[in-house]
Assembly symmetry: C2
Homo-oligomer: 416 residues x 2
């Protein structure tokens, strides 16, 4: 499908990704933003700071795509060679650009401890035949080349520098340069089905999707996102058709659909709390503060989030959250009685309207035959009621923390 | 350098990465593990489930590398075509493999709610001329092909499935197949220098590095990792030479070096606490539980982590942590007096030996002229003393949370 969409390729340059020191979060962010604007990503390529390899990758990318976006390899240190390589590729030379130096000076005016140095000055050298875009939040300038109707951009790999320039300069310029077609996405999030069981359940519906709507399954720690992407000249008809398909899906899956948009579960819960004017608190044992962390990543979370007690050791469960030590001794920390008392204790101590509590065995050690690693009790509590449920996740610590966080937020959503 | 190292390429298949729905954490993990074993990653490529593109990418990768590792595109749903494409590429057909079906049956015996379905049965079809490796934790089998002395492997994209089979099967088989050269890495972590200032500071040292030692700068939220990678037939001489270089660096940078190994700061602090038999607690406002989360990601963290109070709202600071309401009113929540009382309050309430407290303006709103977004007060407290410091980070919420977490853990390290 979408053979007529404008195609983009991303090439990341530098050792960091290839030796595994950093995860390439830039490409995911860029892909999301570019897709929203109707551009299609054909390939993402990560290579070393190596002239031959940079040129070979650029040649191949220009053979497949209309736009090539480079990130990285333009820092002040000696291992960065992208600028020189592009100058060579476009058969031009490096020239001094006063406006780039001014921009760097401006940036350094806020950092009295570290003056301008020779390496920074060398960043003001740019290829002669390109458009220079100033970097508002860093020292490396952005360079924009055009060749045979195609666009090649080189920008920094530092995530916030890349995001700033993509949002404010590059995407608007690309939209101006190409008239990207309208692409409509709709995401439905389904909880409680493994991917293959879900595929069987919705097989008939999937078979009857119109050809101009494409379906993707995107599993994500217990939730499967179903993403419908459509493209049609008649945007209203497309919107109508996508809504119709979502309605059918809704009849098919009912309450297993936990969201009709592509937002994180924490954002969904935050919005719901805000709209109801309720404050939440958490009492976390096995999730160790991750529910609080997820909620406080949201800007403005103080409007719905009160605070937490991370009760990792048992004496905090009894001493701070007022869990009965008899119950703790008889039932164990990972139990219905303890997790319910934790939720109630947090709600009262932190004076919130609703609360969440978790207690489980994240692993890798601590499991027993009766309560293996991955066993987690979760409770949610309001003034009216406290409910709890036992979950059996897997054997991987981080995955158990993430899945328990997700399950806890979804349980809270149920009682709101 | 390292032209004689065995070269690997990773090709990820599927829409997920290219539409930005997921971040490619797999490749970073694989790159780290492969590098440790002396393999060199030449390129990482992400492409769609598209036959022509898969074949083209494989051809190009085999032209550059000795080993090609595919991840993804082998799920049970219809959009996955990697298996069929590889069968075609290697000029073979799909045949039924009883052992794969047995493995799937075994996996499903623990999931009574979802029986074996036709899609799972189709996963037991494998290319005829390849080595099949069973997937111990998922339904898609791993296939291993050899051609002209090169190795091509197709494995699942689900992170824990990929990790399980890489660790237990693929890396050992690759080490057996090639005799990978010994590569020694040493990472030194430096805090408090922007990358370019650090480059100037160590320029003379860097110039005199022996040719067989390669240096990489890896900035990471306030810390710059300097990574020395060396390769030499005489392993003892190499080790000696690397140690010598690190000693010189140590004289040059002194206390700015916060670690001599490539571990997270939280792990470093955790190990230090354990070795001293101390328990830590946290009182978190702007970091919202992220310090607790980072510490509890570490297996066995209950040996050094007591718990936390996430005091997001002011009444928790006063009501639970016993911060003076007069001080809170006079100095504001983001102040020396409040953050020190938070640290002391948490240490007493949670009965820990040492504690960390944070209070700041993570943003995007809430800043003032005097205390702009990014202002964070951090305190650490022990029975002997409480110290605090003001930081000015940047304008990005998530980045401020991460940098405050890092700074707080490093401050704790100072008093241990």
């Amino acid at each position: 499908m979408n053979t007529d969409r404008v195609k983009v390729e991303i090439i990341t340059i530098g050792d960091e990704i290839l030796i595994g020191q950093i995860v390439d979060t830039n490409s995911a962010w860029m892909a999301t933003e570019l897709n929203k604007c109707g551009f299609e990503l054909a390939q993402i390529t990560s290579i070393h700071d190596d002239e031959r390899h940079i040129i070979e990758s650029l040649d191949l990318a220009l053979g497949r795509a209309d736009i090539v976006l480079f990130t990285g390899g333009i820092g002040p240190t000696n291992d960065d060679i992208t600028k020189q390589t592009l100058a060579k590729y476009f058969d031009t030379r490096l020239v001094f650009d006063e406006s780039v130096l001014d921009n760097i000076k401006q940036l350094f005016s806020n950092r009295p401890n570290y003056g301008l140095n020779d390496l920074n000055r060398s960043q003001a050298m740019v290829p002669e035949n390109c458009t220079v875009i100033q970097n508002k939040v860093g020292t490396a300038p952005i360079t924009w080349f055009e060749k045979d109707g195609k666009v090649i951009v080189s920008m920094p790999g530092v995530p916030y520098e890349m995001k700033q320039v993509m949002t404010s300069e590059i995407i608007p310029r690309l939209q101006n340069h190409y008239s990207a077609p309208v692409l409509i996405h709709k995401t439905v999030q389904v909880y409680g089905y493994p991917e293959s069981a879900l595929a069987i359940k919705i097989a008939d519906w999937e078979k009857e999707l119109p050809a101009y709507i494409h379906l993707a399954y995107l599993p994500n720690s217990g939730v499967v996102k179903l993403r419908l992407s459509g493209q049609l000249d008649d945007v209203l008809a497309l919107q109508f058709s996508i809504n119709q398909q979502v309605d059918k899906l809704s009849q098919l899956l009912g309450k297993a659909i936990v969201a009709y948009e592509d937002v994180s579960i924490s954002n969904l819960v935050g919005d719901l709390l805000k709209s109801k004017g309720l404050m939440v608190a958490t009492a976390e044992s096995c999730t160790g503060g991750n529910i609080a962390h997820e909620l406080t990543l949201i800007p403005g979370s103080s409007e719905f989030f009160k605070g937490s007690v991370v009760a990792y050791s048992n004496d905090i469960k009894t001493g701070v959250l007022q869990v009965s030590s008899t119950d703790l001794e008889n039932d164990g920390a990972v139990s219905k009685s303890v997790v319910e008392q934790m939720a109630e204790g947090a709600r009262k101590l932190l004076r919130s309207d609703v609360s969440i509590a978790t207690s489980g065995i994240a692993g890798p050690s601590g499991g027993t035959a009766e309560k293996p690693v991955g066993t987690v009790w979760i409770a949610v509590s309001s003034e009216d009621k406290t409910i709890s449920r036992e979950f059996k996740f897997g054997s991987l610590r981080e995955q158990n923390i993430i899945r328990a966080t997700q399950a806890a937020l979804l349980m809270l959503k149920e009682i709101l």
